[in-house]
């Protein structure tokens, strides 16, 4: 994540706020009209505006707290690079991967039993296959590296 300077963050925060407020007001103004495409675009503008607002507000807060406590940056760096934290993160990810795999299979079966459209079941099966293939690919890649 790029860390812009303070002024850039404020400018992007205001742009985000302006875009989302304009889109909300436009949506209210156009509420009685039937313009589905425009409404979708306005919804997208609200989402993007709020995203811009939120991420820049977070960066401003982050920079503010770093200025308040100079030692905080070092603490955060230590915490991020701490080998136990990294190991815990990797273990948590691998356990969540293991937990989600049977859920995928179950969902494929449920989709098939529910007789949902074939493309939905196949899409889910494809996602499951990509997931498994990615695991095999990374296993082989890491095996060569180590």
């Amino acid at each position: 994540m790029k860390n812009h300077n303070h002024k850039t963050n404020i400018v992007f925060l205001l742009i985000g706020l302006l875009v989302s407020v304009t889109a909300i007001l436009s949506l209210i103004y156009l509420s009685h009209r039937s313009l589905p495409l425009v409404k979708i675009l306005l919804g997208l503008m609200i989402f993007l505006g709020l995203q811009l607002f939120g991420s820049n507000a977070e960066k401003i807060m982050h920079n503010y707290f770093l200025k308040q406590r100079p030692g905080l940056k070092q603490d955060m760096m230590i915490e991020q690079n701490d080998e136990r934290t990294v190991l815990l993160l990797h273990l948590a990810r691998s356990k969540s991967f293991n937990a989600i795999s049977p859920v995928f299979v179950l969902l494929i079966i449920i989709f098939a039993i529910m007789r949902l459209e074939l493309w939905a079941t196949l899409a889910l099966a494809a996602v499951y296959m990509i997931n498994q293939c990615a695991m095999i690919y990374f296993f082989i890649k890491l095996n060569k590296e180590m």
Partner: protein
Amino acid sequence: MKNRLEELRKQHALLQEELALALKVSRQTICSLENGRYNPSLRLALKLGRFFKLPVEQIFLYDEEDLNSEKSQP
């Protein structure tokens, strides 16, 4: 794996926070190491050895219990 980390830290009159800061790890890592809940990487073990000016095998004690627990693992 058992270790003498707590004993050595106390000998050097250090707090967990101070040792953690010196080794650039979190305090929780030192706490877990002392309680034997976490085995360090080779890198961290060597850093500890260098910090206390002791060989790694004098800090971490590889005993029969560890050998038995390894044998019982599939």
